[in-house]
């Protein structure tokens, strides 16, 4: 494996941050302003994609921006795992930007310039986390993301937004300052470095007690991953405009959380250490409890976005579970699920937003018969739901397949049961939505018969795109599968 030095990862992160200036300056001309967002999005995607061949060839790209202390620097390293995440985020940012135009203009929202500006900052931070070479860099971008998303979550600036924003910050900032920061400093104090490496920073570990404490601090500290009991911010954050929920609370923010946990488990603790101390199970139990509880709560939610939020909480823990299995197939499945869940869940959020724009309805009980009114949207919804449940022919099937194989590899039959029963629960909370949308008598329908009225085209195209991607990923899971396998190969050392 070779290491290439290139400034590309830095540029990929900064391009959207740089775009904030023209976005703010062209605030009076919305079309030009959105053009900047698309421009930055395309450049970002191009930069990320241009690193793909190098990484697929088994190499890494490194760039050190700023050295603070020995072992502490703002440094970037592009490996298969980071690239997988960056690829997902930068692709979906473009889709979400298009969707944002439809949604924000459709609802005539205020302060759109601020909205697009902070969106760009959030994406900068996301890519920064994906390419972070050490815990310090990861932490900086993680914090930046928390702050950049606050104005997005509280966009409506009303009393509800204020309350939710407070909850959001309490959980996200409280855990990052209260748990991750001290854990990071303890790791630094023990090892003198924060670089993610193989077989893991703490490989020559001091004692099991210290490792357990650090593990809990870091796994629970990255509250963006939504592991219970650190999940309560996510349903609250649904007060945000739907594109924010779609990209940030199904892809960027929450996946930054699970990605950080994945990085920490493999790069700080190391698979061998966790195996030898038998700590994978500890994380797996946390994740399993979250998966089942969140799915059960989702069943009882009438607000469509809230149901999606609880579904997200459950699905995020699939990824953590994959990491905690510590087996090749399990970890591959976990990493793949970052991508597969992203495409599926963003479709679902897009649909929820499209329904809101077109009809103003938020609750599932008010959506009887909506399938006739918005057939394209609801078909996309079905595809997204299938992907999240894990039914072929959608991408979600592949990641779940690997996860299931992983549990068998690890001889963890209880975890296999968790995964399968969660899939049933997923079906139980998604299928009624679809069923009611299409299968009802004209009398039951809450919509006028024979009228087809979809959301604005800017809303519909992105959701069709992401639904198509979900299907396409079943047939062509490359390059994500390849990246995930490469990453796991690297983590397990050969």
């Amino acid at each position: 494996m070779e290491t290439v030095v290139s400034i590309k990862p830095l540029l990929a992160s900064l391009v959207s941050l740089a775009a904030v200036v023209p976005i703010v300056l062209s605030g009076k001309r919305p079309n030009l302003r959105e053009a900047w967002t698309f421009g930055a999005g395309l450049v970002k995607l191009a930069l990320v994609a241009s690193m793909l061949p190098v990484v697929l060839a088994g190499n890494q790209i490194e760039y050190t921006l700023w050295q603070f202390l020995p072992g502490v620097a703002i440094a970037f390293r592009v490996d298969a795992m980071g690239l997988l995440f960056a690829l997902v985020s930068s692709t979906l940012w473009i889709a979400t930007s298009a969707y944002s135009i439809g949604y924000m203009r459709g609802l005539d929202e205020h302060s759109q310039t601020r909205y697009f500006a902070f969106f760009a900052v959030a994406l900068s931070s996301t890519i920064g986390v994906a390419f972070a070479a050490n815990l310090f860099t990861l932490y900086i971008f993680y914090e930046l993301l928390s702050l950049a998303t606050y104005p997005l979550v509280t966009h409506h600036q009303d009393e509800e937004a204020r309350r939710s924003g407070r909850k959001y910050l309490t959980f996200i900032l409280g855990t990052s300052i209260g748990l991750v920061l001290p854990a990071m400093l303890i790791v630094y104090s023990l090892t003198g470095t924060l670089d993610f490496n193989q077989p893991g920073l703490l490989a020559g570990a001091p004692s099991k007690a210290v490792v357990v404490v650090l593990l809990l601090m870091l796994v629970l500290g990255f509250a963006k991953a939504g592991i219970m009991p650190m999940h309560a911010w996510l349903p609250a954050a649904m007060v945000a405009p739907t594109p924010v929920s779609a990209l940030l609370h199904a892809v960027a923010v929450v996946k930054v959380g699970v990605f950080s946990i994945f990085r920490v488990l493999t790069g700080v603790f190391g698979v061998h250490l966790l195996r030898s101390l038998d700590l994978g199970n500890l994380v797996a139990v946390l994740a399993s409890v979250t998966i089942l509880t969140a799915s059960l709560i989702a069943l009882s939610q009438d607000g469509l976005k809230r149901r999606l939020a609880f579904s997200t909480i459950g699905q995020l823990s699939y990824i953590v579970l994959g990491a905690a299995l510590l087996t090749p197939k399990g970890m591959t499945g976990g990493l793949l699920h970052i991508a597969m869940h992203a495409f599926g869940k963003i479709t679902l959020f897009f649909c929820a937003g499209a329904i809101f724009v077109a009809t103003g309805r938020k609750n599932i009980s008010e959506m009887v018969g909506i399938g006739r009114r918005m057939p394209v949207t609801m078909t996309a919804f079905l595809i997204g739901a299938m992907s999240v449940i894990g039914i072929p022919p959608t991408g979600g099937f592949i990641s779940k397949w690997y996860l299931v194989l992983g549990t068998l590899e690890a001889h963890q039959i209880p975890l296999l049961v968790v995964l399968l029963s969660s899939s049933l629960l997923n079906a139980a909370y998604f299928m009624p939505v679809f069923y009611r949308a299409f299968f009802c008598t004209p009398e039951e329908s809450q919509f006028e018969a024979g009228v087809v009225a979809e959301a604005p085209i800017w809303c519909v195209v992105p959701l069709v795109f992401s639904a198509c991607c979900s299907v396409a990923l079943f047939f062509y899971p490359q390059p994500f599968l390849h990246l995930a396998e490469l990453a796991v190969q690297h983590i397990l050392g050969g």
């Binding site: 104005p151 009303d158 204020r162 300052i177 209260g178 920061l181 001290p182 400093l185 104090s189």
Partner: protein, 496 residues
Amino acid sequence: MIAPEQYPVLIVTVPLLSAFLINLIGMVDKRLCYPASLLALGASLAAALAVAARVAATGTIHYHVGNWPPPFGIEYVIDHLNALVLVVVAGVALVAAIASKRSVEQDFPDKRAQFYTLFVLLTTGLLGMTITGDAFNLYVLMEISALTNYSLIAMGGNRALVGGFNYIIIGTIGACFYLLGVGHLYIMTGSLNMADLLQLLPALFHTKAVLVGAILMLLGAWIKMAFFPLHGWLPNAYTYAPSATSTLVAPLMTKVSVYIMIRVLFSVFGAYYVFTVLPVKGLVVWLAVAAIVGGSIFALAQQDFKRMLTYLIVAEVGYMVGGVWLANQWGITGAILHIVNDAVMTLCLFLFCGIVVHKTRGHRLENLRGLFRRMPVTMAAFAVGALSMIGVPPTAGFFSKWYLILGGIDAHQWGFVAALLFSSLVNAVLFFRVFEIAYFEPAEEVHGHGAAVAIDEAPLSMLLPLVAVAIGLIVLGLYSTSLVSTFIQYAVPAGI
């Protein structure tokens, strides 16, 4: 042309003499006082920068005032520690002076000459305390800065008079303690020169007189820096002081006092005496924990924005005192770095507070309503200062906290580590409460959701310093390693 060897004395004499000139100029034309003080402080800053550069290049500078050799004459000693503090003091004073224009015109247009005379004299006192290598000379300058400070605070009128009077009493007691301590040392050694004392004292370490002297000097410094629970004078004095005064004294007074504590500990008594002979190491760290926790909790209880900031100063003093008494490399590095960072952060917050007072005629939390719309640039700059107080990277506040926490972990002082994290969280609560008020609550005259509000930014003479300081906080954060490797690592006593 003045030879570079003479720069050290210029740092102090230029503002000292200018202070009197400013008073005279004021009799001719009041409007000239402002530029004259900027000139004086600018010259002082330039000299301080030149001296700091020389210290960085060649090491400690000894300057004999009036060419009298120590230990008989007064000696200025500029090493890596006070070179840094001198630049901070001169720099903060200059920025505070620049921003003071509108506040002074608004608050006391007829007393401009008096204000700027005292302002520059106070800065002189702070610079003198920092530069001197003589324990008694330090006392004299401590009084100069204290007396000018009392008057500057009292210019706020009414409640400031009471706060200022309170401060006189407590401050004088503090100075007396310090003087008594110096007296003890003088009786025992016959010397007032710090370097001389450092040589003479080890033979006397076993005596009660030196012990009492050390404790008195320490108490004096603690009262002056408002170290919890000796902080009672600070909140009232700083809250009711006029904006232009608090912008200068809030960032500097406590920080210079912390510097004096470090100076007395390591340059008079030496690290061995302080950490090994004095039986107070653990106790002081716990006092610092109390300061941090207490200051934070009091800050939470305030409905007045400026008063909240004053309690944060009390908490921050705990950071620095605790850091020093961790007695390890990381802790002392963090404490010294925090002197710099905290001075700049506090300056940022008080500059913002000055703008709020100037624009809304008050400094209660409700005065902040709707400010994000009304003054977006001001609020953005304030946000940087607030994030630095919380300790969000890459702002300066994160890095000193980084060193301090590492020091706490290294010294196994888990109480201190927990207190620092607690204070970060409380700061997050405090400042996001402020953000909420400024972001969600519309100003009274505005009604309706998202109504257009005319942008009404602060005057440039206030806005530019604020923005510059906010940018400075990020630059300082990015360069904190250079600061440590160029200055601070040499200031940490060897062999601990």
